[in-house]
């Protein structure tokens, strides 16, 4: 088999896979930031009552699968997706696609992903890769996080495609239809709908767990962590928050920089809408998230630890919530030119 596929590194796995799978049909027009923005990837949620790895469940981006789905839908590209109960069928389906020359996206768990450094291997099951060829027993894999392509033998691939636990992939495979032409007009429409969706997710989800309300609420909670959890556990909680914000696949600043890059590129398609100016606000939000991370590190490194330090930490999030709220309100009020 020799499939026409180019591996490009991305900041985030799902927008990276989406971009790599759409590169041929879009003639390279769909960049990673565009996929992230059209897919309304920016988010914040603090899900109460559940814990992940004994820490808080905090997310800085949208639900796994959403970016690929929304991007393809907005661009009018039909998508095929399948899950399997049988490992044999899952492998056969994959090999059949490769035989017909179709690179495919696969959802995988990272815990038993051999090319990942051990320090990064948690039971996180919503990672995305492209499988684009098979040589002997080895599958050739494009993981957007990696600089180069990787190899998984059939057992290794099966193991990560059938990883267990929350969000178990169940062999989940997906790919866009080929030969759909993507015009500038389609992209313009998709950008608008992506922004609209993201405005909704950040401003109008009821309750206080999601969007800017979620950031504000988390800021308030952090101020109570020291008393409620004790200094050590509160430090671990903050470390977990920073990991979700800064770890591989975020591009830094809790995905805010990717969104800023998206608005900049969107401005080229839709000039005269001040997207360039609004992009600067998201850069500022990203910078603030990073400043907050530096302060958090002071706490989990043990250099800081007073109640005053936790108040400052919480205030960072309250300020960020305000900046992002204004930015999304400006996006909401756009009268498209």
């Amino acid at each position: 088999m020799k499939i026409d596929f180019e591996h490009h590194q991305g900041a985030h796995c799902e927008s990276g896979v989406t971009t790599n799978l759409l590169r041929k049909s879009s003639g390279g027009k769909i960049t990673e930031p565009l996929a992230f923005g059209i897919g309304a990837g920016l988010f914040f949620a603090y899900i109460p009552l559940i814990t992940i790895n004994n820490g808080p469940a905090i997310a800085f981006r949208t639900m796994p699968g959403d970016i690929f789905n929304r991007t393809c839908k907005s661009l009018g590209i039909p998508v095929t997706r399948k899950k399997f109960s049988s490992k044999e069928n899952a492998e056969k389906y994959l090999i059949d696609r490769l035989n017909e020359g179709t690179p495919v996206g696969c959802q995988v768990g990272v815990y038993y992903l051999p090319y990942f450094p051990r320090e990064y291997r948690f039971h996180f099951n919503a990672h995305n890769i492209v499988v684009f060829d098979k040589v002997g027993d080895n599958f050739l894999v494009s993981d957007p996080i990696m600089e180069t392509t990787s190899i998984l033998n059939s057992y290794e691939l099966e193991r990560v495609r059938f990883a267990k636990g929350a969000l178990a992939p169940k062999g989940h495979i997906y790919y866009p239809a080929k030969n759909v032409s993507i015009t500038g007009e389609t992209i313009k429409k998709a950008i608008k709908s992506g922004i609209k969706k993201n405005v909704h997710n950040m401003l109008y989800i009821p309750g206080s767990f999601a969007g800017v309300a979620g950031i504000k609420n988390t800021g308030k909670k952090i101020k109570k962590w020291r008393d409620k959890l004790g200094i050590e556990k509160a430090g671990s909680y903050l470390a977990q928050m920073v990991r979700m914000q800064e770890e591989i696949g975020t591009g830094g600043g809790g995905f805010r920089y990717i969104y800023a890059a998206f608005l900049q590129q969107a401005d080229v398609y839709l000039p005269g809408n001040q997207l360039q100016e609004i992009s600067v606000t998201f850069t500022k939000a990203g910078d603030m998230w990073r400043e907050a991370a530096v302060h958090a590190a002071g706490i989990y490194k043990g250099r800081l630890g007073s109640q005053e330090d936790f108040n400052t930490m919480g205030d960072y999030l309250l300020e960020i919530a305000e900046v992002e709220k204004q930015a999304f309100k400006t996006l909401k009020g756009l009268k498209w030119q």
Binding site: G165, A239, E247, Y257, V280
Partner: protein, 135 residues
């Protein structure tokens, strides 16, 4: 973040691959820049692993005292809860919980032990002795 401010502190991932960050160049335009890591997040990752190491050590003590079967040690070692372990082995969660009792564990058939060994990626013999080979 400006391109020149993209941190280059070598971290665990940086030894294997650099990662992409979006940052602005001198004209304010966003470009994709590679980073070898940032000590703020490397430290956050260290904190997570220190917590895990403590949990593994505590589990080992419990097993040695006879309060739990070696499964507890491997669950902590592999960052698994009963739901994940049940998923990998095909046992029900209540069965896994039963097998966490040393008395029950010691009477398990080789076939059942084999399922656990495979889930933890170790050999059956290592299962009983809490031996791990780094992979």
């Amino acid at each position: 973040m400006k391109k020149d401010d993209v941190p280059q502190d070598l971290g665990a991932l940086g030894k294997i691959t650099r990662e992409i960050c979006y940052a602005t160049d001198s004209t304010g335009k966003y470009v994709a820049e590679q980073s070898t890591g940032w000590d703020v997040k490397s430290k956050a990752l260290d904190v997570a692993w220190e917590d895990i190491q403590k949990r593994i050590a505590a589990a080992k003590q419990k097993v040695l005292k006879g309060d739990a079967s070696p499964l507890l040690f491997f669950m902590e070692y592999r960052l698994m809860d009963t739901a994940i372990l049940a998923g990998y082995t095909g046992f029900w969660q209540w069965q896994v919980k039963r097998h966490l009792k040393p008395g029950v564990f010691n009477k398990l058939s080789t076939q059942k032990l084999q399922k656990y060994a495979e889930a933890f990626n170790v050999k059956v013999d290592d299962l009983k002795t809490m031996t791990v080979n780094e992979d």
